[in-house]
């Protein structure tokens, strides 16, 4: 009998989003290293696969005012992950880093350094941006046409992998007797020429334990899905409801196959939150309470504004979904936040329809549409659901968040992980030494040999 399919579990540190209930007495600092330390130690106690940090390169604004309602401000991803590398031994360290406002040479050496410092636990969630307001913070400015963002992302990744491959694992000889430090005078040589980059020279950081740190991506549009299927080791998605998760999984794994890769080589990991109760009824009550604090009246207006792209201050959150038309082509009303819809008119109509059909107010519609909490129940029912999602091919695992940080992960690790272990679908000890090992991914291509990981 073959072993049960294993669940992958990661945890994201709640950052700048409305899901974080900062007014909860249990909510701690989002900046102090002590918070990150607590979170990382909890994850490692639970034998989780990886830690995940999101990114933001500007503060959000609504109209012209800096947004002051949600958690604002976050530390630098690379720096926090390097500090966490020092106080953990096994858990993967995944950072979301923008391919638009960073250069391959710097990215490659930072990730190689993180992989060396952590003994092979680095991962990169590649994101793109064409957001001109974000460009206002960078010397390049808002230079990138939206149509070029995947071109730049693809070239950034290809150039970065070329840099990682420019030092073989045998490049450092360091033989004190003979006086040979480097294997030869060509160690580090690289060149890369594309539409976005024309770079050449010598890379300066040795090959890291994973060779190529694990690459994660999120992609929802067909182009994004194809890009992720062709380029990544894992895909971060926001599809958690079983049917939509399985549809996404089936679609993306087919794209992976079409890209000439083994579908098992790309793991699909939606974000999710777990809300526990001692009984199912307890859990539902707790869920309702948390949702009402996450989506307060003002937040429901702001979330609607991200779809309508206009000021909805005058709209009553306890009234129906407004009949106003969205203004997708107007200057951005809320800047610094990822768009929540591809087609604002269709989304607005769908919300209206949902409100009419179920007799819901705007706030109730928003609460329902943005409910990211898939798993509401007792520890045993939640463990069973997680197992089912993986067993039935809807996901390979989850990246877990919580409405409080840094302690929100504690109860998952204390109450759910042991049940997954009892079911034989989650590790009881770390077995691999690198994140690739723990995720069941093949080693990256070795220097000078045909690549197996792109």
């Amino acid at each position: 009998m073959s072993a049960a399919k294993q669940v992958i579990l990661g945890a994201y540190f709640p950052g700048v989003n409305h899901d974080t209930v900062w007014s909860d007495p249990a909510s701690g600092s989002h900046i102090d290293f002590a918070s990150f330390e607590h979170w990382a130690r909890t994850a490692e106690r639970g034998k989780l696969d990886l830690l995940f940090l999101a990114e933001g390169l500007r503060l959000r604004t609504r109209g012209e005012a800096i947004f002051d309602q949600d958690v604002v401000g976050r530390p630098d991803t690379f720096t926090v992950l390097a500090s966490l590398a020092a106080i953990t031994e096994h858990v993967g360290l995944a950072g979301t880093i923008n391919s638009t406002f960073n250069e391959p040479y710097e990215l490659a050496r930072k990730f190689a350094t993180l992989d060396l410092l952590s003994g092979g636990r680095a991962a990169w969630n590649v994101v793109t941006s064409f957001d001109a307001p974000t460009g206002e913070n960078f010397r390049r400015g808002g230079f990138l046409h939206p149509s070029q963002r995947y071109e730049r992302a693809g070239e950034t990744l290809a150039a970065t992998r070329r840099l990682w491959d420019s030092w073989g694992s045998d490049a450092v000889v360091a033989d004190q007797e003979s006086g040979r430090f480097l294997r030869d005078e060509h160690v580090g040589d690289f060149s890369f020429r594309g539409e976005q980059f024309d770079i050449a020279g010598r890379f300066s950081t040795p090959r890291s334990p994973q060779g190529h740190p694990v690459v994660l991506q999120a992609g929802e549009s067909p182009a994004g899905r194809d890009f992720a299927a062709a380029n990544s080791d894992a895909i971060f998605s926001r599809y958690q409801r079983f049917d939509e998760a399985r549809a996404f999984y089936t679609d993306v794994k087919a794209r992976v196959r079409k890209a000439g890769r083994d579908p098992d080589e790309v793991k699909i990991l939606p974000s999710a939150a777990i809300i526990l109760g001692d009984t199912e009824a307890d859990a539902r009550d707790r869920h309702a309470d948390i949702r009402s604090r996450q989506v307060d009246p003002f937040t429901s207006i702001v979330l609607a504004e991200t779809v309508w792209n206009r000021d909805l201050s005058d709209v009553d959150p306890d009234g129906p979904v407004p009949d106003l038309e969205p203004a997708p082509d107007a200057p951005k009303w809320i800047k610094g936040r990822a768009p929540l819809t591809q087609d604002a008119h269709a989304t607005a109509e769908a919300w209206r329809e949902l409100g009419r059909r179920e007799g819901l107010t705007l706030r109730q519609v928003v609460t329902k549409v943005f409910d990211r909490n898939v798993f509401v129940g007792t520890p045993s029912s939640v463990a069973a659901e997680i197992d089912r999602y993986v067993r039935e091919g809807a996901v390979d695992g989850f990246i877990l968040g919580s409405h409080v940080s840094p302690s929100g992960l504690d109860e998952v690790v204390d109450r759910v992980v042991p049940l997954l272990q009892d079911r034989g679908v989650f590790r009881t000890e770390y077995t691999g030494t690198t994140l690739r090992d723990n995720l069941g991914l093949a080693p990256a291509s070795r220097f000078g040999e045909p690549g197996t990981a792109g």
Partner: protein, 410 residues
């Protein structure tokens, strides 16, 4: 010379590869296979902390090392080549140490000031107020080609002093000055107490305490505010290595600490005077630059053994050790004499950044022999007496320039 409580001796240590001798990695005590491991750096910084050093710098660049720092890759295979990112090494050792300042080298030439400001502010948060930054420019054309955004003229040593080269170098320093200015503004862009978590009004922060920095210069513009709340020190310590007037002026405009390279005690008063003149020339306000002199050091209780060790490494290198800084090869007591002699030459010399010739050998000698010797002589502290790095240099925690009401230093 006795201890001056009002003018304490400052000691920093400069960490790079296997040490500052080009063939340090071939010394029997060196561990060249470990250079790219976290344990190597942790052990070095902990040794410096054991020696109560004010801070440790970590060298870095966006290209491979070269025997001539101006030249492009020299393709040597008999020297240490390759580095880890210095800022990430500092971040890694932050939770493993508690007192020593952590000062990575980061160039301003190809980097984004916004990323730099975030990274260094976060290093300050993670280290509880021990972060610094050694500002560096990159003149090398091969490093420019690693980014492909602009061409830098190849600068040959024999072309230094020509108008084109001087103009190119002046641009790099001007850009560096702009970068430091933007980074400092971004650190200030969150006033203290911005995060209020006022549940009654539903406001997580007080947006009146957040500020656009709106910097526009010749090289870039940055709108801000930053994304990282103001770090514990307010502003991490900014350090610049300077060999002449142009860079003294950059330091006077931008830095808290300047590293200088007198060749002997009698040079010290002149160098200090040049630094002070540069401060005047740029109209520096606030605290005067703290001035640390650079020395390359190779130590052994038996001075002859120290000379013999360097001689052996010189033999392997094929030429005697040379440096921009003066070199002291001898016993820890002899080094202590030199430090006291230089301090006596100018009361305005605040201390030294020492560059160990061989790591960890010469760092261990500094921590375990030089420092106790200085303590015996009553010229160096017996324990760390401050947590924040700025405080150690007697620098106040600056108020945010954008604060409407004066902040209380903490």
């Amino acid at each position: 010379m006795s201890a001056h409580p009002e003018h304490p001796l400052h000691l920093a240590v400069a960490l790079d590869g296997a040490g500052w001798h080009p063939t340090a990695w071939r010394d029997p005590q060196a561990t060249p296979q470990a250079l790219f491991t976290p344990g190597y750096w942790t052990a070095l910084v902990r040794a410096a902390e054991r020696g109560l050093f004010d801070f440790a710098t970590i060298e870095d660049a966006l290209g491979l090392q070269s025997d001539d720092h101006l030249s492009t890759t020299d393709r040597r295979t008999d020297r240490v080549r390759g580095r880890l990112d210095a800022e990430l090494i500092a971040a890694f050792v932050a939770p493993l140490t508690s007192r020593i300042g952590l000062v990575p080298t980061v160039t301003t030439t190809h980097t984004e000031p916004f990323h730099l400001a975030s990274a260094l502010a976060t290093l300050d948060h993670d280290s509880l107020g021990r972060a610094g930054w050694r500002v560096q420019t990159s003149v090398r054309s091969d490093e420019a080609a690693h980014f492909g955004r602009r061409a830098l003229p190849e600068i040959r040593r024999d072309a230094l002093g020509t108008p084109e080269v001087d103009a190119a170098v002046a641009d790099l320093f001007e850009e560096a000055g702009d970068a430091v200015e933007v980074v400092r503004r971004l650190w200030d862009s969150w006033e203290d107490g911005t995060e209020i978590r006022d549940a009654a009004t539903g406001r997580f922060l007080d947006r009146d305490k957040l500020h656009h920095v709106d910097f526009t210069g010749r090289f870039f513009s940055v709108r801000g505010p930053g994304i990282v709340p103001r770090p514990p020190q307010g502003q991490p310590l900014v350090v610049v290595l300077a060999h002449g007037r142009t860079v003294y002026e950059l330091a006077a405009r931008s830095a808290d600490v300047v590293l200088v390279t007198p060749q002997q005690a009698s040079d010290v008063p002149r160098v200090v005077a040049e630094v002070r003149a540069a401060e005047q020339a740029v109209g520096r306000t606030g605290a005067p630059l703290r001035i640390l002199a650079e020395l390359v050091v190779a130590l052994d209780p038996d001075p002859a053994a120290a000379r013999e060790r360097v001689g052996r490494l010189d033999g392997l290198a094929g030429s005697p050790l040379r440096s921009d800084a003066a070199i002291v090869t001898g016993s820890p007591g002899e080094l202590a004499d030199v430090l006291q002699e230089w301090r006596a030459a100018s009361p305005e010399l605040d201390g030294f950044r020492l560059r160990p010739a061989v790591l960890p050998t010469d760092l261990d000698a500094l921590a375990d022999e030089l420092v106790p010797e200085l303590q015996r002589r009553g010229v160096f502290r017996g324990e760390y007496d401050s947590v924040s790095l700025r405080e150690r240099f007697g620098l106040v925690r600056p108020a945010s320039r954008y604060a409407s009401t004066p902040e209380v230093a903490r």
